[in-house]
Point group: C2
Chain length 260, copies 2
């Protein structure tokens, strides 16, 4: 049997069998002031009232899961057409008891947003722009630090851990890190992305050489420079390149004692 034929309903009576709800859940990350932040919403109703949860919602009858993910992201964050938005399917969660109310199969997506990392720690001007909707759910959409989150609603803890792990792994062998950066960024900011997601410290000279030696990772913007910390030499600016993968990869340090 294949996609839809076979084992179960043969006549395709659309209401003859127990329906599944199909939803999307979004693990939205950004880096602000060298801290990994996650976009969460506070639930207003049972189950899990007052707990934090991932943004998300139903897949509508005529849209794909990815379309639904983009729509929900725009609706709940007010961010539509964010330049440099990275959206990628994570995996699907389908345990029968993951939502106590009914059978819900959820396709999880990971999204990465740029937000000038550790530059001028501005007074949450962006955060405000995330809450333009006075609407029911989006009203409490908020960035929270990834570390030290209390237990989330449903199985969202696990989704978030899976998403974080995937992002960390993809930094090793793809050019994904630029998705956290604004259109113009310094190599120090790019390094900050790696250090924040991995929770490690990298050697600046070696990081620099590695990035510049990978064709298509970043492109220099001739003449441009910017001060990053108030003091120090102004850093050269770069744009994201066209390459998608890193060869050879940029491996996390000290994987020796790492559990496999």
């Amino acid at each position: 049997m294949t996609s839809a034929a076979g084992t179960a309903p043969e006549g395709y009576d659309k209401h003859a069998f127990e329906p599944f709800a199909v939803t999307v859940d979004l693990a939205v990350f950004t880096i602000r002031a060298a801290v990994l932040q996650v976009l969460l919403i506070q639930r207003g109703q049972e189950p899990y009232a007052d707990r934090w949860a991932l943004p998300g919602g139903f897949v509508l009858p005529d849209e794909s899961a990815e379309t639904a993910a983009r729509r929900e992201l725009a609706e709940e964050t007010g961010l539509s057409d964010v330049p440099g938005l990275h959206l990628e399917q994570l995996r699907t969660y389908s345990e029968p008891d993951r939502d106590p109310r009914m059978r819900v199969v959820s396709v999880a997506y990971t999204a990465l947003l740029p937000d000038a990392p550790s530059d001028s720690v501005r007074g949450d001007s962006h955060l405000a722009s995330l809450e333009p909707h006075g609407g029911s759910d989006a009203a409490h959409a908020q960035w929270l630090p990834y570390d030290g989150l209390g237990p989330l609603a449903f199985d969202h803890d696990r989704i978030l851990v899976d998403a974080h792990e995937r992002v960390g792994a993809k930094l090793e062998y793809t050019c994904l890190a630029t998705a956290f950066c604004p259109p113009e960024f310094t190599l120090g900011e790019l390094q900050q992305v790696y250090e924040t997601v991995w929770g490690t410290v990298l050697d600046r000279p070696n990081f620099r050489r590695k990035v510049l030696a990978t064709p298509g990772f970043v492109e220099p913007i001739p003449g441009a420079a910017r001060l990053t910390g108030g003091r120090g030499k102004p850093a050269a600016l770069y744009r994201a390149g066209t390459a998608a993968t890193l060869h050879p990869p940029l491996l996390r340090p000290s994987r020796e004692g790492r559990p496999v």
Copy 2:
């Protein structure tokens, strides 16, 4: 909003909205006689009558997608509790028009099965064991070479390409290759896995050193040996180790001109 609350049906009337069918599709690979093979079934009905398709079926109301995948694999292949079976979620396909009959969201899985590679090319004794069910769908389940497949039903071409790409990539940085091997295997057989999936030739001495230098990849079976090609020195036998990842990775050769 979260998994199930919010945007759409608030009262949770299970039949109030357009239902989705949720299915699993299986990309089942094995290596036989140094050829990458895929398990396919021939469709008996429209749409796509007589075309080859991936095995799969409906997720039942009280099982997870992974449970459904294991059940379908057992039902359609007669293979239940295969030792060393590797089953892993690939991704979810949810384009609204992917099945012309109704809305079907399919969670695709990749499965890898051992089958003594290129050893004694026995007379398809295994193949026969895949068709014990005279039942409707499983009747035509069959191994076919991955290369040179005609167009498959639905979007199964794409699923299969995605699965192959994922397997190839995971060989680089995980110990996945042993999933293609029987419980006891030689290093030559393990190398055959890499060469078959990647479509490249590897240097035997270097491959050997690399594998043995990775702790937990394989474990030697003291004293055991086996002839592989009728001639030549008997090869030492190994078991799969406990490690899951490869550090450093075993990269595909000649990635220079590779599109990124």
